[in-house]
């Protein structure tokens, strides 16, 4: 026989920091080492700070957008905690908006 507790209800889960920040296996997943997409974004961000030609500067900006979109999609689809998925969705929305608005 199974029984449900009040902890499993949606309102109590939404107010639970543990539910937001912990992965299914109980690990705290607020911060993890950068994955490849985030590494590319960081490198492109640093490259963009240098004195580049106009074409290379535009390409570096494009790579920054692309890398963040890939990272955000990865987080939305495979994020290890609800916080990471929400963060991915926010970053994805921000990147798409900045691309559309320019």
């Amino acid at each position: 026989m199974t029984s449900s507790t009040t902890d499993d209800t949606v309102p109590s889960r939404l107010t639970s920091a543990s539910w937001w920040f912990r992965a299914a296996d109980g690990r705290l997943t607020l911060w993890q080492p950068p994955n490849p997409a985030l590494c590319v974004w960081i490198v492109a961000l640093v490259l963009g700070r240098f004195d580049l030609s106009a074409a290379h500067e535009t390409a570096a900006e494009g790579v920054q957008h692309g890398a963040l979109i890939v990272w955000a999609l990865d987080e939305v689809v495979r994020g290890s905690s609800p916080f990471r998925r929400v963060l991915g969705a926010v970053v994805l929305a921000a990147q798409l908006t900045s691309l559309v608005v320019g």
Binding site: P36, V40, V43, A44, L47, F50, L52, S53, A54, A55, H56, T58, A59, A60, G62, V63, G66, A67
Partner: protein, 216 residues
Amino acid sequence: MPPARERRLSGIAGARALRWGALALCVRPAYVLTEFLVAAATEGGYSFLSDSVSRLGEVGCAADYCSPRHALMNGSFMVFGVLLAVGAVLLARTLGPWATALLVVSGLSSVATGVAPLDRDATLHAIAAAPLFVAQPIALIVLGARLRKDRPRLAGALLAAGVVTATAAVLFVLSGDGPASGALERLALWPVLVAVAAVGFAATRLPSDSTGTSPT
């Protein structure tokens, strides 16, 4: 169709795809020849050390420089890009989803580079080529990590090639029109041709669902 016959036909189709995919990747080092063929016909002087590969594909001619075989160069960007994308798709079960996707992106980027010559629109050309310089080194590193158990020596070479090409790509962007920009660009591109060809050759001897773990 009986299940046994269906499995056998599926296996034959898989083996055929593996062979064609491996062939597509193994012929790609020939791309280097096209660079030499095109450079040999340039007028006004072309340096492999200081001039970018993209200059070979410039459509227009100036008083001090012309690349009469630009169509061959731009065509080779497209043909060898298609070979990379198609080869990666055909070897997807061996390469894994991440490396396959990265190599397909690289192949499409190469095709786009051939469509957008440098002297027509430098910014569009840079945007078209950027994924190639980003995705290829990562693909090599991903492949190296994936094959480290089954093919440790190849995996080590792939990881080293990935690090070298990534570093060269960053330095190429930083160098701008510097005296070594052509050499840096080629250091970012040429090793990938050999490394991916080696993967294509090895793919015919690897388990099709290689995940980096030895079969039990």
